[in-house]
């Protein structure tokens, strides 16, 4: 995954955070998705355009993870969000 490309949540996806974890509804498919706490934080960060590199950097400040671990997690998560059409290029 290109670390510098900026991504953003798609406007057709609604989200609600309850007890620190987000539930998403894709208005185009009518499908619900659940996110864990770290993924929820990434989702909130993606309300503004951000690159995988920026996201990973931010996670190292907020969670006890190394930059390498954060990059791996971000790549996997953002890749999944893109594959499901929930996030797109900014």
């Amino acid at each position: 995954m290109n670390q510098e490309t900026r991504y953003q949540v798609r406007p057709e996806v609604l989200s609600r955070v309850l007890a620190g974890e987000a539930v998403l509804l894709d208005l185009q498919s009518g499908t619900y998705f659940g996110l864990n706490d770290v993924a929820t934080r990434v989702w909130e960060l993606l309300r503004e355009p951000r690159s995988p590199a920026e996201l990973a950097e931010q996670l190292t400040h907020e969670f006890e993870v190394t930059l390498e671990m954060a990059r791996g997690d971000v790549d996997q998560l953002v890749g999944e969000l893109i594959r499901r059409g929930l996030v797109g290029p900014a």
């Binding site: 406007p11 057709e12 609604l14 609600r16 309850l18 007890a19 974890e21 539930v23 509804l25 208005l27 185009q28 009518g30 499908t31 619900y32 998705f33 659940g34």
Partner: protein, 390 residues
């Protein structure tokens, strides 16, 4: 198709504009020998009307009200011309092509429950080529509302009231404004003239997603609190009716529906100031979710989103209930689910409900401390999903 009671149907029968539009359209198209489907029939008054015009009629509704048609049709001497299907139409096989399908699937707005999905399915599977579908289309219309008191029953009480004495109720304001409600609205409450938001062309429609957009440009600085949304129903050509705000002349000479439908009020999170000459946009999206629709409405000023509401935010308040709908969730059965699975596994095995209930009460005493409770439960299950004998 709905949770309507017989009392609700009385209100619809009493709506002169609705009945006039539908019955005139039926008179226009139904001929002796025709096969007619009354979809979401309720007690089946359109079915009866078509039967009296000489048609053989299939009245379909998952609501028990349709069973009343047995008595109604007999009273009019039309019982032999009516086939009653107490079922979801999507599971019905007519066994013959229909010349006409008639449906009224509206509440305060179209897209009531799974109605749209049923209409599209009926058009594809029931209607012969060249057959007639009533209604023809619904036009959704909207106008911004300036009366701030309309918000008094929505978000405002959660934002602080004398009696609250410092309690913080604000977190619920978001949910309260994310529901549209049936209201009694009047023309003087509208800030601008109505605009067309979207059309639902039932005779050609392929999607259950609706996307409507309308724009107004108020000449003076104004405050709005939400939008009035209603339908102009075109049943067939010049025959129709509308639930426009009271005092507003219906478009295209359509009849004025009685208050049974009301008019929908789509609230904003809070009052919004519109500077003079700025473009005020409203986008409404619907998404089929289960057997219902999620309604989302966005307000834009000069193309920038300034307010967004969705019934997604107002329903399913608990995280657990949302989470359990997620695609990625791996469900585990509750004890109730295991008991139901056992009960359903015994359906079709020749046992009576009483025998199944006894077994259930024995195996799940915490759920069913008495035989009567177990019998009540399996009776409900059976009424809902056991095969109906013709």
């Amino acid at each position: 198709m709905s949770d309507y009671t017989l009392a609700d149907y009385v209100g619809m029968l009493g709506d002169h504009a609705r009945m006039e539009a539908y019955t005139r359209a039926l008179r226009r198209h139904v001929r002796p020998g025709h096969v007619v489907v009354d979809l979401g029939a309720g007690p089946g008054v359109f079915a009866l009307f078509a039967a009296r015009l000489g048609a053989r009629v299939h009245a379909i509704d998952p609501n028990e009200a349709v069973l009343a048609l047995d008595e109604l049709a007999s009273a009019s001497g039309l019982r032999e011309r009516v086939v009653i299907h107490h079922a979801d139409s999507r599971a019905v096989d007519l066994g013959e092509p229909a010349d006409l399908v008639v449906a009224d699937i509206r509440g305060t707005l179209p897209l009531l429950g799974p109605g749209l999905s049923c209409v599209v399915d009926a058009r594809r599977r029931f209607l012969r080529p060249g057959g007639v579908l009533l209604p023809e289309r619904d036009v959704l219309r909207a106008a911004p509302l300036r009366d701030p008191s309309l918000l008094d029953k929505h978000a405002r009480p959660w934002r602080g009231a004398d009696w609250a004495e410092g309690l913080t109720l604000e977190p619920l304001a978001r949910f309260a404004s994310s529901t549209w409600v049936r209201s009694s609205l009047h023309a003087p409450q509208l800030l601008c003239p109505p605009a067309t938001l979207a059309e639902i062309p039932y005779r050609t429609l392929e999607t259950e997603h609706l996307r409507g957009q309308a724009t107004w440009t108020p000449a003076e600085q104004s405050r709005i609190c939400g939008f009035a949304v209603w339908f102009d129903a075109v049943i067939d050509g010049d025959l129709g009716y509308s639930n426009a705000p009271l005092g507003l002349p219906p478009t295209d000479g359509a009849g004025r529906a009685d208050s049974v439908y009301g008019t929908a009020f789509f609230p904003l999170g809070d009052e919004l100031v519109i500077p003079a000459g700025r473009a005020l946009g409203l986008t409404v999206l619907t998404t089929p979710t289960g057997d219902d629709h999620t309604w989302t409405w966005r307000v834009e000023l000069d193309g920038r989103v300034v307010d967004e509401q969705s019934t997604f935010f107002s329903g399913l308040l608990g995280r657990a209930s949302l989470e359990r709908r997620a695609e990625t969730f791996r469900p585990e059965p509750s004890e109730r689910a295991r008991a139901d699975a056992e009960a359903l596994g015994r359906f079709g095995g020749g046992e009576t409900l009483g025998e199944i209930a006894r077994a259930l009460a024995e195996r799940h005493p915490s759920l069913f401390p008495t035989y009567a409770r177990a019998l009540d439960h399996v009776g409900e299950l059976s009424a809902r999903i056991s095969r109906r004998t013709p």
